[in-house]
């Protein structure tokens, strides 16, 4: 079986299972948590393109996610743009921001990229949070970016009105559809020319350069591609929670998501998804420990990385290879 066929098969099986889930387990909690899982999965699948395929240690993905969420909310709040138009617009805005960040990172390598992108995210956070001047006073003092309180009441995609008691199931399917597209894009990127170019750049930079594969161009491309869907996911997040606040920049969320990628397996197609599923289940399971939850999560994170440094995906592949 060729790898692309295998990917399609795995994808279709997962999709079928996910479509069936609300019928099999109609509990609201499972559905809403799965929706959240879809949102984070979109982010990690796109982040993986930059981190695992591009080999760029960027921590800017949550800032891009926040850009998408804030752009959606602000378009709705200040200009009353309908949400169905605002979300794709937010995607485009996020691409622009993503390419700017990509440009800033061009000359940097390794941990310097990590620190630069983190600094960019932190500046955005600090500027939003420390803004206490009122931009408008509709509904109380409202700073331009909403300050600490965030932005709410910017509109909806209408599914709440359409399915008053089952809107969360509708959101579940929206999230699932977005994830399916995001994963398809990621397969195309990884298996396609962009992935090839990066592999060439990584394995033999001199040769790749001599064949006209320019790091500059591809690095910008990969930032742009991954930014688009991350921005869309941010927009959907805003709609789903009805409010966007500066917590989307939270360092702990960022760490949680990057841990998903590393635990799942950097650079692989299904690894990040697997990692996201494992960590969200672990997060859920650890709630049983109440006070010891964070200790358990921390231990789990360390143990996973130390035991399987190539990620769960790498481990699965190796154990399959050794069986054959």
């Amino acid at each position: 079986m060729t790898s692309i066929r295998r990917d399609i098969l795995i994808g279709l099986v997962c999709l079928a299972l996910a479509v069936a889930l609300p019928f099999a387990m109609p509990g609201r909690y499972v559905i809403t948590q799965s929706t959240l899982f879809f949102i984070w999965a979109i982010v990690v699948v796109q982040w993986n393109l930059v981190l695992g395929i591009g080999g760029i240690f960027s921590l800017a993905q949550m800032a891009l996610f926040a850009t998408g969420a804030y752009a959606t909310a602000m378009l709705g709040f200040y200009w009353k743009v309908p949400m169905l138009a605002a979300i794709p617009m937010a995607g485009v805005i996020t691409v622009a921001v993503g390419m700017l960040i990509g440009l800033a990172c061009l000359r940097l390598r390794g941990p310097y990229v990590a620190l630069l992108t983190l600094a960019i995210a932190q500046v955005m956070y600090v500027l939003i949070v420390n803004d206490t001047d009122c931009f408008t006073t509709t509904g109380g003092c409202m700073p331009l970016f909403g300050g600490v309180r965030g932005i709410g009441q910017f509109g909806d995609i209408g599914l709440r009105a359409l399915f008053p008691s089952k809107w969360y199931v509708a959101h579940y399917y929206v999230g699932l559809a977005l994830l399916a597209v995001a994963v398809t894009i990621s397969i195309i990127v990884i298996r396609g020319p962009l992935g090839l170019a990066f592999r060439a750049l990584r394995d033999n930079p001199g040769y790749a350069m001599s064949r006209g594969i320019s790091r500059f161009k591809y690095q910008l491309w990969i930032f742009a591609v991954s930014a688009f869907f991350t921005g869309i996911a941010g927009g959907f997040y805003a709609i789903h929670f009805r409010v966007v606040g500066p917590t989307v920049f939270s360092f702990s969320t960022l760490l949680f998501l990057i841990a998903m990628i590393v635990i799942g397996g950097l650079g692989s197609i299904w690894g990040p998804l697997l990692g996201a599923a494992v960590l969200m289940l672990a997060d859920e399971g650890m709630r049983e420990l109440s006070d010891y939850r964070n200790i358990g999560l921390g231990l789990l994170l360390a143990v996973f990385v130390i035991a399987w440094p190539n990620g769960l995906n790498g481990w699965l592949q190796r154990s399959r290879a050794s069986r054959n």
Partner: protein, 292 residues
């Protein structure tokens, strides 16, 4: 004039706090290419151990400081054996160790929350009194911290420059394989560096908590600032880090006075971004990540 003195005093205090936090972090990065995300938690642990040793065990402050340094050095060793050693054998060391130390840091932080509770606690190891320059009163504690930062820097510098062990650390950081060919036992060097950085973290935690008070989450902010300092100085550059820390402290204090406190952190971060774009390897860094 008083304002200027006050800004310089505050800037030096902040700078000294950042500098003590940075030295250990920078050393570990310099020799292992390891961003130790547990540094903040270890630093906090040092502060708490010192507090517990003085208040609960009734130890002399000097002994308490040693006890804290010792315990944190052990934690550093533990990180070496449990995380760094196994991960050094695999690929993607930099990302893996980043994640693993996040996990370890979170465990330490939450154990402290369980053990010492969430309330802020004053650090008993503190110097009373103040010096007066003009009309500005500067707590001796702040002067003390600046002194400790300088002593630590000089101590680390002497260790690195003048001793055989220090040369081996630097050699390992520059070229691991070549160092092995000189008969350097690299594993032991890494263990020593992590232990040393743990001990340094303990001292810096005690110093910082004497001004900012002890809470389980207090390490986060100094660690973030330490990263900024490291970037500006060039990762792994210990001297550069101390100079950059003090310069950033002064800049922060000046921004707080001139532009207002709320813009100070954003200004620092913007500076970092500019430095990285303009000089990708830090102000004192070389093209390759070369330390010292």
């Amino acid at each position: 004039m008083d304002v200027l003195i006050q800004i310089v005093a505050s800037g030096l205090t902040l700078g000294a706090m950042y500098a003590v936090a940075t030295i250990g972090l920078s050393l570990v990065y310099g020799s292992l290419n390891m961003l130790n995300m547990a540094h903040g938690a270890i630093l906090t642990l040092g502060g708490y151990i010192c507090y517990a040793a003085i208040v609960h065990a009734g130890l002399h402050p000097a002994l308490a400081l040693l006890a804290a340094a010792f315990v944190c050095a052990l934690v550093g060793l533990m990180i070496y054996f449990s995380a760094a050693l196994p991960l050094l054998r695999a690929e993607n060391f930099e990302t893996n160790i980043f994640i693993a130390t996040i996990g370890i840091g979170s465990v330490i932080e939450n154990l402290m929350l369980k053990g010492f509770g969430p309330y802020p606690i004053p650090q008993p190891l503190a110097v009373d009194g103040q010096v007066v320059i003009g009309n500005v009163h500067i707590p001796l504690q702040n002067v003390f911290i600046l002194g400790v930062a300088i002593v630590l820097m000089v101590g680390v510098a002497i260790l690195l420059q003048r001793t055989s062990a220090g040369r081996a650390i630097r050699a390992t950081s520059m070229n691991r394989e070549a160092a092995q060919l000189m008969g350097v036992r690299v594993g032991r060097i890494y263990a020593q560096v992590l232990a040393l950085s743990g001990a340094l973290a303990a001292v810096s935690g005690i110093m910082i908590s004497s001004i900012a008070t002890l809470t389980p989450v207090m390490g986060g902010d100094p660690m973030l600032k330490a990263f900024i300092v490291c970037v500006v100085a060039g990762l792994g550059n210990v001297y550069g880090a101390v100079v950059a820390a003090i310069a950033l402290g002064l800049l922060e204090a000046a921004t707080q006075y001139v532009l207002g406190v709320r813009w100070s952190f954003a200004t620092l971060l913007l500076l970092v971004i500019l430095v990285l774009i303009w000089r990708p390897y830090g102000l004192f860094g070389k093209q390759q990540v070369v330390r010292l």
